[in-house]
């Protein structure tokens, strides 16, 4: 049994879930999620458009990471998104502290899938 592969899959599945759940829950409880957007983003577009457009991006990232194919850039994107959420919501750190762990996991995936001749496990 390839435990390394299983570990990598579990890591990808965990990060993917963190990006799949919010856009789905946002369909039923949008205000709980729109609140995390920084103030300067409110007004760029209607909140619903902003929220669900971002949700589509999240779903794409999640499915791409779950696929395991060339996941360097989606993993980097996931890391940056999570870091941005942390950065713009310090007052909610008691809730979003988990994003630090998820960001570390997605960055780990990015490192494991980084393009290069010596290592490319994506």
């Amino acid at each position: 049994m390839n435990l390394g592969g299983a570990a990598n899959f579990l890591l990808r599945a965990g990060v993917s879930f963190a990006f799949i759940y919010p856009p789905i829950d946002a369909l039923f409880d949008p205000y709980s999620w729109i609140g995390y957007f920084p103030k300067f983003m409110h007004g760029i577009a209607p909140d619903a458009v902003l929220l669900h457009t971002f949700g589509i991006v999240e779903v794409v990232i999640a499915l791409w990471i779950l696929s395991g194919k060339n996941i360097f850039w989606p993993s980097v994107s996931a890391t940056l998104i999570l870091l941005a959420i942390i950065l713009f919501n310090p007052q909610n750190f008691q809730i979003i502290f988990r994003d630090v762990a998820i960001a570390a996991a997605s960055f780990s995936l990015a490192l494991s899938a980084r393009p290069g001749p010596s290592q490319n496990r994506g």
Partner: protein, 189 residues
């Protein structure tokens, strides 16, 4: 070598950032309120003194502000218990809630008024569960049919919202649709 150096650099930066955050993000409740409202002080009995809210229904308690404090002046000192007002008004605008910290007596009413273009949904912290005041979550106390104590939760978007604070303590709140805007209600005996 390079990757491990980058990882260590990120870890160190993250640790420094976390330390900075923890150092500078002392709760307003732990320090002297620097932006404390002194609204009208009327020591009359408040009919909503015990319930902790104006009703026991879970329906959104958006109300019309009618008898609010005429003006929320601000001071830079804690409000003594016997000087705390029974009513206070907090306005919401582009810069968030003002004043950000309000002190009222137990049973006092705080009215939140949206004077900006943004939407307002006042709710107890933490976002997004809102269980800070009574321990019930938003999904519980905002649900139709909820029969418990009225929550410190507007439960919907509205222009004004009033809540009677029947419990002493320091109650953080935020705008549910813009969670970066926060404030604190200090309720003294």
């Amino acid at each position: 070598m390079k990757i491990s150096s980058i990882v260590w650099a990120i870890i160190i930066i993250a640790a420094l950032g976390l330390g900075w955050y923890l150092y500078f993000s002392t709760s307003p409740a732990d320090s002297t309120p620097s932006n404390t409202a002194t609204a009208t002080d009327n020591n009359q009995n408040n009919p909503q003194n015990n319930a902790g809210a104006s009703s026991n229904t879970a329906a959104p308690t958006t109300t019309t502000a009618t008898d609010n404090a005429p003006n929320n002046s601000q001071q830079n000192a804690a409000v003594p218990s016997n000087a705390a007002p029974m009513q206070a008004t907090v306005t919401y605008g582009p810069n968030g809630f003002s004043p950000s910290t309000v002190t009222v007596k137990q049973g006092g009413v705080v009215t939140f008024v949206n004077q900006g273009d943004g939407r307002m949904w006042v709710a107890s912290g933490p976002h997004p569960t809102h269980e800070g005041y009574y321990g019930t979550t938003k999904n519980q106390h905002c649900a139709s049919g909820y029969g418990g104590p009225a929550p410190f939760d507007q439960c919907s978007i509205g222009a004004t919202y009033s809540f009677t604070f029947g419990k002493t303590g320091n109650w953080s709140y935020h705008n549910h649709v813009n969670a970066g805007d926060t404030g604190m209600i200090v309720v003294v005996p």
